[in-house]
Symmetry: D2
């Protein structure tokens, strides 16, 4: 029986086109064409629609990967999943995390106790999602199905072992709306933004509910087209989702812990209860197995912290712990909301190389007002 | 011998013109025309030059105060010092803090041990500062002189008992530059902004160095026109300063602890060592006497925390703990920098009603890369 | 038979609270409590949700008007219609236009030829509009009805004599959505913004279609809930509309020309065919009777130009005359779109005191890609 | 005797990396490695410091050009001058203009009358400019010297024949300031921005004065370090300048008309008298020889208009034609100022593919409050 050995390499980028750290990993054989399964990162720039930093990084990283894998550019996506989140406002260092997976024989005694299980990763693509399904049950079901197959791929059967599910799904575009309407199908929204009624927000949230459905976080009976972006009590604690109008299929990359894993890494997660909840972040670190002394991560333990993945969705209310904030009325809320998540994580991890995406208002990613935090820790053994 | 009894009342504002909480304090006699000495707060809006939220709040608060004191509008400043900092991005609740001071007889045994000394406040105006002195030694010396007199007014003699000095000084304006140059005097800058070479930045920083000089934080021999906004190793740990082109005099309001004080409040301060330093903030709370359990402020202790005053100056370097951040190149750095300070404080105090000003780059307010945090705590006795 | 004598006084404002020019008009009896019927203007600030410049100006102008009319503050709206459009980016001077109307006897021979007809103004309030009607046929019909009554009030019967209809209608709010849904009524959108699917945009556009219905610009048979913000070929050439979540009734102020009017002013309008169409602006000036020499408004004629009212809706396409522009992807499109309209008008009128509102994307106010421009000119006689 | 034949090809870009139009020009031999002398254009994005659209375009265009010329990447600059201005807010289409120059024998009768002289282009590099010269007389003199040599290269002797001089010069950087100060030299500013006292602004303005000196627009006796960014009455009417902290030499590309030129293009220029001066723009078109009918460019004539190059510097005053504008206090003034210039030009040329740079406040590029406009027209012969 084969088992996984998963590694993560955090590569700061000095510019959107900086592949030098990846190149070093390649030169040292820490990543190989056979083992590289995902590139997940934060690209510098504004994170807005006209943020060319993200686009440039995407182009350069795909070109680098094609060369590294020795495949055609349009074949890259079949081998390596890209999750690039644009915008590094504040104290978020632009970086890319290379995720590798080796398949190894389990040595004698190589199956660990459940509480010492280790990082595995699974991937899956979804069925194509026509535009009329975006933001609706069709998309939810297809993401759920892909999530289940990603669990299979990870070798996981218990949803409690899943700690982070990154999903990319189709959104809508002018062209795809036309297509749907030419076939007399309605679409969930004509707003192509990530605003409150934007197609992007609906797609992201349907994807999150798809994960929630697959993992049993939400019962299927509670789901319908009508609850998407309406019933915020339905949510996933582990889904981080994004969408693009140009995509036709969903992609899932899922992280969890398995007793058979031969990794030296372990993942955990938690959620914050509100926008300023430092305890929630610390709980995620604890969940991953980081040692605390005197209520805080021990200084020497932090060197074992490999990476943090966090959302920073803006609360839909103007109240935080009973006091008014003005973020909802701020035209720069998107950037500031993301930046604030970056500070929350950085002030606790003592570092700025954290994956923090967000800025949108309300989401089925995480509980109302709170956010998802996942952490990966290197074990001492 | 008379002694002070100082109180602080934190009043959230529901809009820039909301004086309802002040009105309640007045109705309940918690503040009276005789005791009100300062109004310090954060006004909602962008904090930019065209932020009418701050201007409107200023107008409304002055009108309210004139009525409350039964004095003419232009007499208000003689009785109550206003420190309104514009801009509440992120998780900073718009609010005003009413500071009151009563003079009371010291009761028998009313002089406390030094480590139980309590909050006192002192105020002083400065000599007029002509435009050619702005941002230079002239301004530094006059602020130092006023700071010393504010210490007198507070009844303090040891600079170590001073924990927060809020200063407002003249900046430059088109008119005042013309005036100086017509008298063949040079001015420190023709840039009227708070940018790197802006007159506003020079004025704020000269004021900070004035405080540092008065409190012995910087030796006079080290000071000259040339070091302002050049030698960042010279700084105050307690000065929070602002400036306005329309002003002619400086104003100082100074907070410290005195054994003779009859207040039930106590102030402390610390500095952060860099932009994400949560420990620095916790040290300020400790300095004020807040109890910690297990490395964090105890939940029940936080109810004793009256207020936090913090700066959030952006570091002049693009490195935080060895990793690059892109804040210095962000056109929204001013707002985001302030917002990040708000999150740092809120995530530790568990509340959003904190006074956080900043957003500018580099300052003699606090050490290079770090920031000043002062905290006021209600004592248990 | 009574007839109208209408005047417009353009008052630049030096700050959001500047009523000095209005005060001068009052002192000189140019405006009186009996004659003042509307205050229409541009307030400085960002025009965003948290633009306190507009709010402050509104408060101050209402207080001034209440005092001027000697009525209670909440009675002001019954006497004077306020149309304050926030945001003066670029070359738009903050200003308020006081509109007065006197009823005078028509002198012998006082009825002019149709092509010399003069400015009249009419006002009307609408029936209350419950939240479920916002952005739908209910709102369209009630605005149409109010527009017809405003025409009556103006003494106009032929829609071709109507050149500008300013409308304010209820939008949605969190509270009004709750109210509707508690009564099992659906609302047009849960997005409270002016974005593509925002309730504000729907309300504005339903109001524009209401005007179009009343004036016969769009046939009733073509209207339904489904075409609002879908079929851009249905539009008004004279409607400038706005909405607020707190309102319950619509308000209409309508401008046109009548042969019986004793005004010395005349109004005209035209539309631009696209976002850079200077000819469309010039045609509006011509329509109002301004003299041109050599293709341009004659220098001496411009002194007769009293005011221009223009929309600056952003085109929904990324093409202008066959070339791509990037405005649709610009996070600052709202401000920039408005600013561009200001420059288009100012570069033709040679002045910056123009009423220019807009910045939103697509609208039934004006043709697809183009905008409405109305102009008021003082006649030479 | 050899003479020039100069052509300009305007290539809209569909994205920052779009070289397809250049590729077509290359395929059709309209541009060849021998003839391509400059690429001048507007790149999409914000135009701010963190605008990666400009950087990406620069990288891609240099790579394309290196391949096209068959030279190393770092040799490109020796053959082709790049002037890329970042930021296409509003109605400015991202585009690149390929400028070609052939040397041809003058045919018999090939020397035209002065008023029918045609487009020539000249280029020159400057002496290296150490940091202590940036923004000062050293830079002014070296740009003047390079401008004179560019005139030589263009075959022009009379400054009146020069209509556009694009200059790129060194600015300051953290490193170059350190270098200067280590040699005990002062620098003009420690502010690395393009703000009022920014090193970028000083460098641009010294470059403009260098052009003015070379062309006799400003007498040498009037120039000194002290007048840079102080005496706005000293300016060039044809200089468009930019600067970069990484550069060590200046580069000049100069356009004018010569009787010996065999081009079918002609250039002209004018200045606007203030920020909304449409006449100034029309005068530039007239100066280049465009035909007008009835006060406006004739519709069929506009097809002869090849390109417009315009600055859009924001006026340093808050008054335009006697009325207040709020642009100087707008945090987005840089983008909006540039966008407004784009609208001014587009509304007159009827197209959006115009080169419009600017957004900074005050400049020696153009008269106080006004801006430079140059136009290139295809002659009918």
């Amino acid at each position: 029986m084969k088992s996984q050995r998963v590694e993560m390499f955090v590569c700061p980028m000095a510019s959107p086109s900086d592949t030098s750290e990846l190149q070093k990993l390649a030169a040292s054989k820490k990543i190989t064409p056979d083992t590289l399964v995902a590139l997940v990162g934060k690209t510098e720039g504004t994170g807005a629609h006209d943020d060319w930093g993200r686009v440039w990084a995407d182009v350069v990283l795909r070109e680098w990967t094609a060369k590294f894998l020795d495949v055609q550019l349009d074949e890259v996506a079949k081998h390596v999943i890209f999750v690039l989140s644009g915008g590094c406002p504040g104290v978020i260092t632009p970086h890319i995390v290379a995720v590798t997976r080796e398949w190894v024989e389990i040595p004698d005694g190589g199956v660990r106790a459940g509480d010492d299980s280790r990082l595995v990763v699974g991937r899956a693509g979804s069925e194509p999602m026509p535009p009329e399904e975006v933001g609706r049950m069709g998309q939810i079901r297809k993401v759920a199905e892909a999530t289940r197959r990603a669990m299979d791929d990870a070798g996981l059967t218990d949803p409690h072992d899943v700690h982070l599910v990154m999903v990319k799904v189709p959104g809508l575009s002018t062209a795809s709306i036309k297509d749907a309407e030419s076939r007399r199908k309605s679409v969930v929204s004509h707003d192509l933004t990530f605003g409150a009624e934007g197609a992007g927000a609906y797609a992201n949230d349907a994807a999150a509910l798809g994960v929630a459905l697959a993992l049993g976080e939400v019962a299927e009976a509670k789901l319908s087209d009508d609850i998407v972006r309406r019933d915020w009590d339905l949510y996933s604690e582990v889904a981080m989702t994004s969408s693009g109008g140009e995509k036709r299929h969903g992609e899932v990359v899922l992280f969890g812990n398995s007793p058979t894993s031969q990794s030296s890494l372990r993942i955990g997660h938690s959620v914050t209860k509100d926008f300023i909840d430092a305890d929630g972040v610390r709980n995620a670190l604890r969940s991953a197995g980081l040692g605390f002394t005197n209520g805080l991560p021990a200084e020497n333990e932090l060197s074992r912290l490999v990476h943090v993945f966090a959302k920073s969705v803006i609360p839909g209310s103007d109240q935080v712990r009973g006091q008014r904030i003005t973020l909802l009325d701020d035209p720069d809320a998107y950037q500031i909301g993301k930046a604030l998540g970056g500070m929350l994580i950085a002030s606790i991890t003592g570092r700025t190389t954290n994956y923090v995406s967000g800025g949108e208002r309300n989401s089925h990613q995480g509980p109302p007002g709170g956010n998802i935090v996942a952490a990966v820790v290197r074990t001492q053994s």
